[in-house]
């Protein structure tokens, strides 16, 4: 009866192994996969991107659950997660990744499901010392306490290095069969994957793109300049080149066909510009752009459309204008980029 647990499964190597280890101890496991709205698979599919071999990007958690033969529930926490990312109690990591708050939210949700559905504890693939922000001994303890799960989170990969949990004390699971992995090296995990014949996604890092540096730069710049971030902005930060004009109007320039296609789906809500003959990029215009910048935008479109002089169509508040444009020079263009080539914030 007590050998039932819910597991946080991202589909990466660590969480898959954690599940496998306890499944081998006869624990009945249900996997939980949390949708935060920052999923790399979703992002790639939205832009129509495919793997080098032409295959679709597959959600690693779904694949892992099928491989491990355990049921999986995809839990949508994107609404609540929006507040977490804007106001994380425990701050951000290196970029805009609120890892500690994120873990707390996920564990709280896991606790609800655990209690509602008659499971007894929670399994995670966390490894002591693997991630500087959220996987130190102190942070693991804090996360567990804040989620109201003290003693009920089993981390099979590092269990022997951590305090004994309730399921171990009560003999539901055997501590001796758990592991003592620590740190960033993944060689032990890879060995185990080989032993169990587990396939997993490479590289590691789960399915979250908030740890991406370019994403973080756009996020922070927007918060500083606009003072407001919407849910749609959170998606837009992951698409296109972002330029900021002197009027504070923002341009989002598609870098490829997938991005252009995606940005076009937002045409009804924003102003936009494109090369008239269709041989070029698509630019979404965010903000109230003064008329003196129309030429500038047209020149930017021309620069990103084969660097050729061309006619550009500007659609401003539903009204279309045709402007003859010359590609803007690199120095001027650089001054509008949200970050310089060195990656430093302006």
């Amino acid at each position: 009866m007590n050998k039932r647990a819910v597991a946080l499964l991202s589909g990466g190597l660590d969480s898959s192994l954690a599940v496998r280890l306890l499944k081998d101890q006869g624990v009945e496991i249900k996997a939980l996969y949390f949708y935060t709205g920052f999923c790399i698979t979703e992002h790639k599919r939205r832009l129509g991107l495919k793997k080098e071999n032409g295959q679709q990007y597959v959600n690693p958690a779904i694949r892992a659950a099928a491989q491990l033969q355990i049921p999986i529930e995809v839990v949508d926490i994107s609404q609540e997660y929006f507040n977490v990312i804007l106001h994380p109690k425990y701050g951000y990591g290196k970029n805009v990744n609120p890892c500690v708050d994120c873990r707390i939210l996920m564990l709280k949700k896991a606790k609800d499901i655990m209690e509602r559905e008659g499971y007894s504890f929670v399994i995670t693939g966390e490894v002591l010392g693997q991630r500087p922000m959220s996987q130190t001994r102190e942070k693991l303890k804090l996360i567990e306490r804040e989620a109201g799960l003290e003693g009920y989170v089993v981390r099979p990969l590092s269990a022997k290095l951590l305090p004994m949990t309730v399921p171990e004390k009560l003999g539901w699971i055997d501590r001796e069969k758990l592991l003592s992995i620590k740190g960033r090296s993944r060689s032990r995990q890879m060995e185990l994957a080989k032993k169990y014949g587990l396939e997993y996604e490479q590289p590691a890092g789960g399915c979250c793109y908030l740890t991406d540096e370019n994403y973080a730069i756009k996020f922070k710049e927007s918060l500083a300049v606009d003072g407001l971030i919407t849910r749609e902005d959170l998606v837009l930060f992951s698409v296109g080149r972002h330029l900021r004009l002197p009027s504070k109007t923002k341009l989002i320039v598609a870098r490829n066909e997938g991005e252009a296609k995606f940005l076009m789906t937002l045409k009804h809500r924003y102003d936009y510009a494109y090369r008239k003959d269709g041989k070029g990029t698509f630019v979404l215009i965010k903000g109230d752009m003064p008329e003196e910048e129309y030429q500038l935008v047209a020149d930017i479109v021309s620069r990103y459309s084969k660097r050729e002089p061309c006619y550009v169509i500007l659609s401003i508040k539903g009204e279309q204008r045709e402007i003859w444009a010359q590609p803007i020079d690199n120095a001027s263009l650089d001054s509008f980029k949200i970050y310089t080539k060195k990656g430093a914030m302006r």
Binding site: Y33, C39, E42, R45, R46, A61, I62, A65, V74
Partner: protein, 83 residues
């Protein structure tokens, strides 16, 4: 079974959303369905072609089949156990 003969009990349209949203939606809708009922999921994320059968495999639900029409996928899933 012929797909044309299937009379879905619930039709759910998730066109415009991408993985993992179609799975989350499928999971949510199927929870409220009775055992034996059939869901027709309509999606345009080409990834559902792999995701939904994999999800059925993991959760023990029955994947009945799918067809593609005008860039949209129609997938049929029968609820055979509680979620």
């Amino acid at each position: 079974m012929n797909l044309e003969d299937i009379k879905p009990d619930v039709v759910h349209d998730v066109v415009g959303t991408f993985c993992p949203v179609p799975i989350a939606e499928t999971s949510k809708v199927m929870k409220s369905m009775k055992i034996g009922e059939v869901l027709e999921l309509i999606a345009d994320d080409p990834g559902v072609v792999e995701d939904i059968p994999a999800w059925c495999n993991a959760t023990g639900q029955e994947f009945l089949g799918m067809y593609q029409e005008d860039g949209e996928y129609h997938l049929f899933v029968k609820k055979v156990k509680e979620l």
